[in-house]
């Protein structure tokens, strides 16, 4: 083994890391549904407030001007992260470590021989280690930035560290349980999809009442519920209630909900765009069929990757501006990167030039205060998305060559092409499909985000495209299991 290999670093830690056992026998369809839903629900339940915070970290009392607020609010939706809870970073470290490691391996920057079992295991262990390491590092960045309060005792710091790291470990393990074959397909995607669905339901139909002003008025979280409530409430006129339901900016309103639904519909539509290649069997005559290649060949992964990069950029800026320079307007770092301005006592809004890569809070704000953001942000999303899609289709084992090998194994050939021509023909289609799809999806995200969805646009797009990718696998598996499932009869639809 010539040279140094990065994955070897994980070797000494391998015996220490928990590893979920592979199932001894094939897990039945119903069991898979139960495992998937359970894991995801435990995840949702895990969004529990951290213990040991300074007491006055509630929304109402946090009036002090110097308080450190949430700097990454616009990426939280995508990674199912909830501020000031155990899942402060959500599933981000798991997703980012998986994507980054795979991309590095694909670019041959990390040398792994995937044919050797030992190497694969090491690669997997190092991915897991990288994920947990990120949880720990991010936790400490947030602790020392003053995000959890400025005067923390040593005991509090230890406690917060323990909680965040343990939560991270459990998220990793939950993902692993699903991935190892106890649940459907991919843990990371199942969990994000279900979480995004949860947030969507809460934003539209949420009935929980939240204190909105100092007079003690409460409004429902869900936009639809809020509309009905304000029609009936005594302190508002009917017109005022309707207008308020459409444009309140402190909680989800109907405008954003409708936008989100429109985006979801657009993704549904795009997901059904496909290029159908006529194929025929080489073994049996007259068996003609089509092989579909979807326009969204890489699904929502390209958006996920762009958001991973966005997260890294903003965390790096947060470290430099907040942890190093303490968000001091006179410091050099503040001037170079741009600082943070607090908004609603809840969010930390990045200022120019960092704001160039920050989706605006509303469309009007975008035009008046961040006129360059649309260009830079959309360019960033589109370029990274397309680059990733081009790379991912080549390395993920579904490239033109892989498909043609698969065709050969199954005795399938493209109608009107020789066997040697298949790869070439597919090469004309697959990369174009994936990059075009990623480009369109990126544009969709940009449109949603520039209209002020604060991460909800991106997350619904990731969620719906994830749901489609999962649904495809689930239906395939359902048919394989012979269509016999007690659960499906009860539920009607299974975990999308």
């Amino acid at each position: 083994m010539a040279g140094f290999r990065l994955i070897e670093l994980a070797k000494p830690f391998a015996p220490l890391l928990p590893e979920v056992e592979l199932p001894y026998e094939k897990i039945g369809f119903d069991d898979k549904v139960v495992y998937t839903i359970c894991a995801a629900l435990i995840y949702v339940f895990g969004q529990f407030p951290l213990a040991g915070l300074a007491k006055n970290s509630g929304l109402e009392e946090q009036g002090s001007a110097g308080a450190v607020l949430d700097p990454i609010y616009f990426v939280r939706g995508v990674f199912a992260a909830e501020p000031k809870t155990l899942l402060e970073f959500g599933i981000f470290p798991v997703v980012s470590s998986a994507l980054i490691m795979q991309v590095l391996a694909g670019l041959k920057l990390v040398r792994v021989n995937f044919k050797v079992r030992q190497d694969r295991e090491l690669f997997q262990t190092s991915t897991k280690l990288f994920a947990i390491l990120q949880y720990v590092v991010l936790a400490n960045v947030f602790i020392f930035s003053g995000y959890y309060g400025t005067a923390l005792s040593v005991f509090q710091i230890v406690l917060l560290n323990l909680q965040l790291a343990a939560a991270g470990l459990f998220v990793t393990l939950l993902v692993e349980v699903i991935d190892k074959g106890y649940g459907f397909a991919s843990g990371a995607m199942a969990i994000t999809t279900i979480n995004i669905a949860t947030n969507f339901a809460a934003d539209v139909l949420g009935v929980n009442q939240i204190l909105v002003d100092s007079e003690g008025h409460r409004e429902a979280q869900g936009a639809v519920i809020n509309l009905f409530q304000s029609l009936r409430s005594s302190h508002k006129t009917i017109v005022g209630g309707i207008v308020g339901a459409f444009n309140r900016d402190y909680l989800p309103n109907l405008t954003t909900s409708l936008l989100v639904i429109a985006l979801a519909g657009a993704v549904c539509l795009l997901n059904n765009f496909r290029f159908e290649l006529p194929i025929r069997s080489t073994r049996a005559r007259g068996v003609n069929n089509v092989y579909p290649i979807r326009l969204l060949y890489v699904g929502g992964l390209s958006v996920l990757f762009s958001y991973v990069l966005l997260f890294y950029i903003h965390i790096l800026a947060f470290i430099l501006v907040q942890v190093v320079a303490r968000n001091d307007p006179s410091s050099l770092l503040y001037k170079i990167i741009g600082g943070y301005a607090s908004s609603n006592n809840l969010l930390y809004v990045p200022q120019f030039p960092l704001s160039l890569l920050t989706p605006p809070k509303s469309f009007i704000e975008c035009l008046t205060r961040q006129p360059f953001t649309p260009f830079v942000f959309s360019a960033f999303m589109i370029v990274t998305g397309i680059w990733f899609a081009g790379l991912w289709q080549a390395i993920s084992g579904a490239s033109a060559r892989d498909i043609s090998v698969q065709f050969k194994d199954q005795g399938i050939t493209l109608t009107g092409h020789r066997e040697q021509g298949i790869t070439k023909e597919l090469e004309k289609i697959v990369p174009v499909a994936s990059t075009t799809g990623a480009g369109i999806l990126a544009i969709l995200v940009v449109v949603g985000e520039l209209l002020g969805l604060k991460g909800k646009g991106a997350s619904i797009i990731v969620g719906v495209s994830g749901a489609f990718s999962l649904l495809e696998l689930i239906t395939a598996e359902f048919q394989q299991s012979g269509g016999q499932s007690a659960l499906t009869q009860v539920l009607g639809v299974t975990g999308a």
Partner: protein, 70 residues
């Protein structure tokens, strides 16, 4: 200098080429019919909202717990 220009030209051409390829591809794509589309949207929509409501029910559990402990 000429080489540099050439490269720049190629760089400028790349997006144009990309868009051309992309639109050609989309035109060749099979689009879902109205009826199919509605069916798919309904299936995915119901699934999505159902899972969302289950998840939200779990989240609602937090409210009494938070009320008790904070």
């Amino acid at each position: 200098m000429a080489k540099n220009n050439n490269q720049l030209e190629r760089l400028a051409e790349a997006p144009v080429e990309f868009i051309k390829d992309g639109t050609a591809f989309i035109q060749k794509c099979k689009k879902p019919g109205n009826k199919d589309f509605l069916k798919i949207v309904r299936a995915v929509g119901i699934g999505f909202v159902a899972v969302g409501i289950i998840g939200y029910a779990i989240k609602l559990l937090h409210i009494p717990i938070r009320y008790l402990i904070v």
